[in-house]
Symmetry: C2
Amino acid sequence: MTQQLSMNLATLRNGSSFAQMVDDCLRHGVTAISPWRDQVAAVGLAEAASIVKANGLRVTGLCRGGMFPAETAAGRQANVDDNLRAIDEAAALGADCLVLVVGGLPGASRDLPGARQMVNDGIAAMLPHARASGVPLAIEPLHPMYAADRACVNTIDQALDIAAELGEGVGVAIDVYHVWWDPKLAAAIARAGREQRIYAHHICDWLVPTTDMLLDRGMMGDGVIDLPAIRAMIEAAGYHGPQEVEIFSRDNWWKRPGDEVVRVCVERVKRVANGE
Amino acid sequence: MTQQLSMNLATLRNGSSFAQMVDDCLRHGVTAISPWRDQVAAVGLAEAASIVKANGLRVTGLCRGGMFPAETAAGRQANVDDNLRAIDEAAALGADCLVLVVGGLPGASRDLPGARQMVNDGIAAMLPHARASGVPLAIEPLHPMYAADRACVNTIDQALDIAAELGEGVGVAIDVYHVWWDPKLAAAIARAGREQRIYAHHICDWLVPTTDMLLDRGMMGDGVIDLPAIRAMIEAAGYHGPQEVEIFSRDNWWKRPGDEVVRVCVERVKRVANGE
């Protein structure tokens, strides 16, 4: 089943280099990855693309574009410019999509509808270049606890509304950590499938208790998310791409060797996420 | 404007007695309170009711019933029994409503739909006694970050769906902390008004950063919630009752004297929440 697993390289933030992370993946039969821009920049885009090509890796996404809101028009334009560069990087890597974490309230603003409009405007501004480059844009709705400071798109339905407004080339990355609580989850995933907008499926787990709002995500099976149930919804909606493991875990998994982390991810995807 | 402010006594968890908290409120012209059951129990129900009556206080709610899910039928029945006692306490205090924090996943369960069904069943089981006692039940949707361990009802719409299923005597307590992020907030509040289900309006603020998921709520004005905008939605929906200040703040407001906390609440409601 390892062909159904992609390793989001944020899971391996233990100080390893890009090449080491790829080696850790390959050693366990994982041939799909999703790197972050800073990880690509650290090795250099050309070298990263070369490693991807030489090893026949699938790049299920590049993390991340987005962060559109800013207090000034110049700030918003700078954000769009950075997103245009992210598109080029995604294209160079042959990524399936560019994941967008859209950003929260700019500065000291309390204007959430205004921030959300800035997101729409920002995606609209980058979309022509994304289409011309063949890079699908995957809006990742983030958990509502990040609405203020990381992403003011907080449900699948909200992301799909943006995609419907903007048209072709915009979809969603469904990360279970962010959406598992949604009482309308089944309907939203079904809608995403009907509208052919599911571009990625990220997994991890929600720990009880959660000790840090950002950096205490759990390994699949260590928390309370019903991963097989959500995967079933996603497959019923027509998406059969890899499950991408993305675990921010400062005090646990980020302290372990990449070899161990990948090994455990592979085992957990088989046993927990796929219910084998 | 102090007649529009109710003090949720959870805001004054600094070791004060029930009578001291009431004195702190009255000193600043606050004549509405919403106590917690443990605070009532500490002074005794009869004495608490006597203090309420002697001072002509309005009790805008009793916090809290709920916590329905349990792993066994006996556990769920025990939870219902406790809720029946909460109804009696609310009636003795003349509370406007009994606030329900419905509970999360029982035990090691990952069955969120199952937990939600237990909530429906639990409210249905207590509803006849609530109606007979003249105690409205206010479901408080909690922020999705509490879905696992405190409340699996996480949006106003979800609470209204339960209320619509169960009928008369079930409504919602709208706490800005839990719902401010909801992209469908305006529509949900308007629906709550149309269905005449708004029983309470709680306020505080969302701090950036938030350092504790439960006990780091902010004083109105210290965070990012657009309180006047949400109040306008609620009044447009036909609810003109008090704004109830409920701030869990272990490391800040709970360390201050009640006199100071009430004084600041009164000032902030005038300046921030009402925009005077």
